[in-house]
């Protein structure tokens, strides 16, 4: 009973059979199934996936219009604009991390099914990152070029955003779990998530700035990576606790 | 005395700072006491409702 033999029209809940791969790895099997399920479900609604990306593109468009069309000036603000826009776009994308599963009761099943909720949430967040953070990092070069960034800096921009959005998705998962089911929780979610995400913004923007200037961006990138590692280890635990609290 | 109020020329900064600090201190005291009074009122009202319900059930 694994995803490849399942009918693709029916995305199953990750109830892993112990006989399959041994009980010790059951959480990982469950996690893999959850990841695949989330990806499958997301691709049925492609419009939903494009919204945060469109938002990101729009926000970066605002600045040349609002500040100045001169590339030299834009290049100075490019790091900040890119990262602030990425932060806001990832906030927007958080909406659909838990929304559908909370509405139809799947999330409750996750909490009750006996599998490790921490691993399941890690899988959900990983799927979320693959669907929002990674694409954002991949289209960022376009936005960066439009803000005057030199082509040599583009690789750095993609890598730093890819790593930074991992942390943003994870921190956002905690906020989303805490505000489950609250009506019109958008502003509250932002209020909770943004202060906690500021270090990512700080290090990411700094790395981008160094890359644009042509210097080594390794130091802030290391800090960004350290934050991501910290988030990967701690955030799913906090998110699982938050989901349990919200479902009580 | 005038020297004291003048704060060496910094009066416009020092006195507002002190005023706002102690205004907030005062507000905190008033606010805390009001919150307690409100809780006590609510508790009293809940008790009365309980007593009434018990009487009606009897």
């Amino acid at each position: 009973m694994n995803a490849s033999s399942a009918n693709p029209a029916v995305a199953r809940l990750p109830v892993a059979a112990p006989s399959e791969a041994g009980i010790a790895s059951a959480p990982l099997v469950a996690a893999r199934l959850t990841l695949l399920r989330d990806l499958q479900l997301a691709f049925r609604k492609p419009a939903q996936l494009l919204q945060p990306l469109a938002f990101f593109a729009l926000v970066t468009l605002l600045f040349p219009l609002a500040i100045s069309p001169e590339l030299a000036r834009l290049r100075e603000v490019a790091p900040g604009v890119l990262w602030a826009a990425a932060l806001l776009a990832s906030l927007l994308a958080l909406e659909f991390l838990f929304r559908d599963d909370a509405q139809d009761g799947t999330l409750e099943q996750y909490a009750l099914c006996g599998q490790s909720l921490t691993w399941l949430l890690m899988a959900k967040t990983a799927a979320h990152w693959l669907l929002t953070g990674l694409p954002l990092a991949l289209i960022a070069p376009l936005a960066a070029l439009s803000l005057g960034a030199p082509p040599a800096a583009l690789a750095a921009i993609v890598v730093t955003l890819a790593v930074g959005t991992v942390t943003l998705s994870l921190i956002g998962a905690i906020g989303a779990a805490l505000t489950l089911g609250i009506r019109r929780s958008g502003a509250l979610l932002s209020l909770l998530t943004l202060p906690l995400s500021l270090p990512v913004l700080i290090f990411g923007a700094h790395a981008t700035q160094l890359a644009i200037a042509g210097s080594s961006w390794f130091a802030p990138f290391q800090l960004l990576a350290a934050l991501a590692v910290l988030a990967v280890t701690l955030a799913p635990l906090a998110a699982a606790a938050a989901v349990r609290i919200s479902l009580e | 005395m005038k020297e004291f109020l003048d704060m060496g020329g910094y009066a416009a900064f020092v006195w507002p700072a002190y005023l706002i600090t102690f205004a907030v201190v005062g507000l905190n005291i008033a606010w805390a006491r009001r919150a307690l009074a409100r809780s006590q009122r609510d508790a009293r009202r809940r008790l009365q409702t309980q007593v009434q319900l018990r009487k009606e059930a009897a």
Partner: protein, 245 residues
């Protein structure tokens, strides 16, 4: 036997009565310390070598900043205790801390800003301390907002408790990220008070103000705690005596 007093702290009626008895023991010493500190700081302490009389803002700014951090820490510790041991009293303590902490964070920002204008020539400065303080204010507001947004009181207690714990882990990270960032941009001037050793005439009033504000927090907390404890005890019988007696 030695732990009985600790176990009693989990009992709402005991806490309610104890808080009432303890409040004057915090309130009056707080008043004395603050008045003494004010007199020492405004009248007795000599003007600073560099900042003249302007440095006296320190006597309200530093205690407020201290309060903002200490109260958040208290809130987070109480929240953690409430989460782990499911103690309503601990959640009541955390709830009581939030408005106090938020208001003093606001004061720290305003007094810091008023200090900044004559000293650095600007009302705002993105130096690590002010920036972290501003973020701390948002952490408080987030906590208060989350509590307000959740209707079920138990869920509100536990969700905000988790938020406070997540927040306290982040506070040092946020602070050091700003310090790191600013060190690379060579912040124009670091708020440097006096030289390494502050003369006793300047230091003593500061210590008195710090102690006074801490005691004030104790008193405010005790008053609010009674209200919060009462609100969490919907139908318990001890309320009758407590409220009507």
């Amino acid at each position: 036997m030695a732990w009985t007093w600790f176990h009693r702290l989990a009992s709402p009626p005991h806490v309610y009565a104890l808080a009432a008895r303890l409040t004057p023991w915090f309130a009056w010493p707080a008043a004395v310390c603050i008045v003494a500190g004010l007199y020492g700081g405004l009248v007795l302490a000599p003007p600073d070598y560099q900042q003249g009389d302007g440095f006296r803002i320190m006597y309200v700014h530093v205690p407020s900043a201290w309060m903002s951090l200490m109260v958040y820490t208290t809130m987070a510790v109480a929240a953690a205790i409430g989460l782990i041991w499911r103690m309503k009293v601990a959640h009541a303590v955390a709830a009581s801390c939030a408005p106090i902490g938020a208001s003093f964070t606001f004061v720290a920002l305003v007094t810091g800003s008023l200090w900044g204008e004559p000293m650095w020539g600007t009302y705002w400065e993105w130096d690590p301390r002010l920036t972290s303080e501003l973020i701390l204010l948002f952490l408080y507001l987030g906590y208060i907002g989350l509590r307000a947004g959740i209707e079920d009181p138990q869920r509100a207690d536990r969700a905000s408790a988790l938020l406070a714990v997540v927040g306290i882990v982040n506070v040092p990270i946020i602070h050091y990220s700003v310090v790191w960032r600013n060190s690379l941009h060579q912040a124009p001037s670091v708020m440097r008070l006096a030289k390494p050793a502050m003369p006793l005439s300047m230091l003593t009033p500061l210590l008195l103000m710090l102690l006074g504000f801490t005691l004030l927090f104790g008193a405010l907390l005790l008053v609010r705690l009674r209200g919060e404890v009462l609100a969490r005890e919907r139908t318990a019988s001890w309320i009758r005596e407590a409220v009507e007696g």
